[in-house]
Amino acid sequence: MSGARFGSRIGSRVGSLIESRTELRVGSRVDEDERGVETAGMGREDAEEFRVTLDGVHLSFGERRVFDGLSVGFLRGKITVVLGGSGGGKSTLLRLIGGLQRPDEGSVRVAGEDLAQLSNRDLFRARDRIGMLFQGGALLDSMTLFENVALPLQEHTDLSPDDIAAEVTRRLDAVGLENTEDLFPRQLSGGMVRRAALARAVVTDPEIVLCDEPFSGLDPINVRRIENLMVELNRSLGITLILTSHHVQSAFRMADRFAFLVDGKAYTATPEAFRNSDHPAVVEFLEAESDDFVHPHAAATDGGASPG
């Protein structure tokens, strides 16, 4: 990302991550209209709106076939939650979109560019518009939080050290990590690591943010905090958010769209359509998930650590 472009984006939203919803929706040209589509592919939706599309993706690891003609689109400026059983390829889907994994066949278009066709060098450039939050945070453990969050800025912008320091402090404050700049990742709790990683993932203002199981292994309070941070990011900056989860409760709180992975294929739907779906795999998944929350203190654990 060039310094100039970065500067202008910073300027356009001086202050904090928290700004009014309407203001920024205008800026990111998000269509307010929710049009339901039951299955994968373009369907009735306007192709313009898709920021990320996978088309006819086949991928196998040795004998194991992960995707078998997967086609799915992700809407610009929306939160899409990818659900599916363990080993269903949720993380692999994010790795495909991040260009960390090439498909055996098919195309992965991010902002109009087919990542499957790019050279390694071009991939690094294409990733400028993508941020990724890894399950374990993936913070560099030999560096402090400050150095971790500052790294993308030092690498890709012309900002002065003072500006970088100010920006990093602001970003860490925004995720509720005041005065933690000099701590190392190992000194933090799981929730703090996840929040710091989120700060790092969005520090260069990517337009697409991928989150791999952002809630797994966290307590209910941290789940809520990270949920709120993500919704804030999405609403205020119009970031296209794609996250995997098997935490159904929080998924329904956040999602504009669902993508359900089963048998190497994907089905997308609005939350209502997803809840009322009669697809046997979806029905089974939702029933199994709700079982986990049937106990006297359901309210207290609502939003608790993800089951399984």
Binding site: G98, R127, M132, R200
Partner: protein
């Protein structure tokens, strides 16, 4: 049974060729990352500290011990011919030409090479390398190149240190314990070891070993399986393969150029 073993052999050969090829490509990538901007002096300095400064104690202590025992042994052999004054020459030549570079490389492999592999492999396991990629930072440039370069730079220096301590050890044993005249020890050392062949040869060997260990250690870490077992397999692999390679390559260099 017999067919099976031939199959296995074929598989192993193909595997070896594959890894040699992959490592060569990897080496070119590292080289390109090293010579093109941006140059990461800060990270290089950190790595030089890790590989070099933290290996100082083990290299110095081992050097002194090897020199002392070599002095002792050669005295026992030489005294039978009344040639005990040549301990300086014997210890000096064998240390400078062979034992210095080889011992240093083996020690550094065990001390720093294995740590390098383990660190890179565990960074891979915890997705830190992918994390860098997602920040549009090439891990080869950011992580691998400083480590490999540090190994290349540090090996000749540690080699020189190892040899110096070995000579010191032999000198102390020879003069204090065995009653050899210090002057004749140094004279025989000075007349037999010459700069162009022996010292330069030693330096070249150390550079070759440094490059080799640096590339092997980083390659093994970079290509490890992202699991705990993968980390330990990669680390063990580095020590075993690097050690054997050092000894083989040492022979090849000596046979070809007579260092």
């Amino acid at each position: 049974m017999r067919v099976q073993s031939i199959e296995n052999l074929g598989f192993k050969v193909v595997n070896l060729v594959y890894h040699l090829g992959a490592m060569t490509l990897f080496g070119f990538q590292v080289l390109r990352a090293t010579v093109t901007p941006k140059l990461r002096f800060r990270r290089l300095a950190d790595e030089v500290f890790d590989v070099g400064v933290l290996s100082l104690a083990i290299v110095c202590a081992s050097g002194a011990a090897v020199g002392a025992v070599l002095g002792l042994q050669s005295y026992l052999a030489l005294v039978r011919f009344g040639a005990e004054e040549s301990i300086g020459a014997l210890v000096g030549l064998s240390m400078v030409r062979e034992l210095g570079p080889v011992f240093t490389a083996l020690l550094v492999t065990g001390r720093a090479g294995s740590a390098m592999t383990a660190e890179i492999a565990s960074m891979k396991t915890t997705e830190q390398l992918d994390g860098l990629r997602m920040m549009s930072v090439d891990p080869i440039d950011f992580v691998i190149s400083p480590k490999a370069t540090a190994m290349f730079l540090v090996m000749p220096l540690l080699n020189a240190l190892f040899i110096s301590f070995a000579l010191f050890g032999a000198y102390v044993v020879g003069t204090a314990l065995l009653g050899i005249d210090g002057g004749s020890f140094l004279t025989s050392l000075e007349t037999s070891v010459n700069f162009d062949e022996d010292i330069v040869g030693s330096f070249i060997k150390a550079l070759v070993f440094g490059t080799m260990v640096g590339l092997l250690a980083t390659y093994r870490g970079y290509t490890s399986e992202p699991t705990s077992a993968g980390v330990s397999a990669a680390t063990t692999g580095t020590v075993v393969i690097a050690s054997v390679s050092i000894l083989l390559v040492d022979y090849i260099i000596t046979a070809l150029w007579g260092f």
